[in-house]
Amino acid sequence: MTQRTAVENSALNIVVLVKYVPDAQFDRHLTGDAHRLDRNESILSELDEYALEAALALTDARGGAKGGNTVTALTLGPAAAAAAVKKSLQIGATQGLHVSDDALAGSDASATSLALAAAIQSLGQVDLVITGMASTDGETSIIPAQLAARLDLPQITFASALDVTGTTVTARRDGDDFSEEIQATLPALVSVTDQANEPRYPNFKGIIAAKKKKVTTVSLAELGVAADAVGHAGSLTQVTAAAERPARTAGTIITDSGDAGIQLVDFLAAQKLI
């Protein structure tokens, strides 16, 4: 990723990370000796839709694809993960990049960020990498920071508002104690929260147009990443045991007939909570 000398509101090349994750509406399971996530019933991670929307809003303001802007939806995962890219193209991304390789199975955050960094570098000039605030499966939210460290990019995480003027990206972060305005010079990496925007849905025109958009599938070898740098061999953490928590069961349910507040206090007193 080379430094750019863009003029005011010139075209942007943005990469958005999109992940194909098990739908949280269904029961999710770990499976096998390595305790990996069962990836049936998967969808585009809901939190990645905010990242995609942020990218599309920035490029729409500069004339979209016709204005030379690109939004590349990047995913890493098995063949089925291509569905996350496909949906992103239907929503409005201009092209897709899918890193697919059997050796990736079982990659932890470190191995995943290593492969993602190589994929982003393969795209040449990138102005912005935009991600969601976390995946809805692993939920660790450490990939953005690892990716920024590997690509040597300034990182602005948990942005609740985002704008680019010239070569400056400005974001707002709403923490517990402070609301901050942060600036960085492009290229940069930004993760956005679910407060950043209202994601758009694919429409009929978008679904038709997506069929003509280019999706490139690349292997690790094509990215110059050794197979043993990722997957189980390249991961630096290991899950050594896993157990399903017993499901919570319903307790006492009462219907208020005028004294439920008092019964609530009785319950709290019995639990020694007041």
Binding site: A24, P144, D152, Q155, D177, V239, G251, L268, I274
Partner: protein, 322 residues
Amino acid sequence: MSAIVVYVDQLDAPGKLSTTTAQLLTLARSAGDPVAVVAGAVTPELLAELGAQGVSRVLASEQAELGQFLVAPKADLVAQAAAAVSASAVLVENSAAGKEIAARVGVALNAGVITDAVSVTHDGGTLLAHKSVLAGSWTVEARATSAVAVISVKAHSVEASAAAQASSPDVETIEVAFAPASLGARVVSRTPRAASGRPELEDARIVVAGGRGVDGDFTPIEELADVLGAAVGASRAATDAGWISHASQVGQTGKKVSPQLYISVGISGAIQQKAGMQTSKLIVAVNKDSESPIFEIADFGIVGDLFQVLPQAVEEIKKRRA
């Protein structure tokens, strides 16, 4: 014994050791040789507190960059200090900033990173992190296979206690070489948010949370929270409606809480909400709709009008205490 580095932030609340950092030092002491890495000034009071924790070494930097550029320079400090003392593990608190420091230290030291640990045990020299995953529906044990383990640990995973023997470490100044990109994201303005005076959501023993059912009026929630010394939480529906700050949101995209008692009021209990609270020890639910999914997981459920039930409970608590 090998060195276990604990990151001590003295930039936002300087002068004393936070409760969570004291917990991390207690944990480090039980597993190895605790080393404090301090960003900011080491006051005599802080040094005494670190000594009471039995810290063997204190490495500190007051370089201005640590406070001006979000977390990346802090991660540079922690990584370089951990390398200098040949640490076998790095412990940080499980805040958003703590997790990012862990992430970047992992890249710098080629170390495995485990986040969201609710407890840390050790098997010989190896630290084992225990955490819950998939919205609290599974628990796992994980370990780093690298020479250094980086773990972010949730509050209250261990009770802070003083060392049997206090130490009197010197302060060793460390000169951090910041990576250029670490100084790339500048804080251009900072606006303090109004303090509620209530406990922090993630630290609170009791949480009272309101949802769509409060219909814009959080007064009954706040009154019950105050009489219980509880933190106030909210569902995404309530924060999206603008009834309460987004910082109060509990759920998949908000805070994950695990208090002794979670009182869910006017919240239906969709999966995204449950993801943030279902590891609470006890769950009480108040909702008008008896079909709400929250009643499937509540230890005590009240089908009723929150505007009747909550004020009655508040009065009753006050009466019993009088």
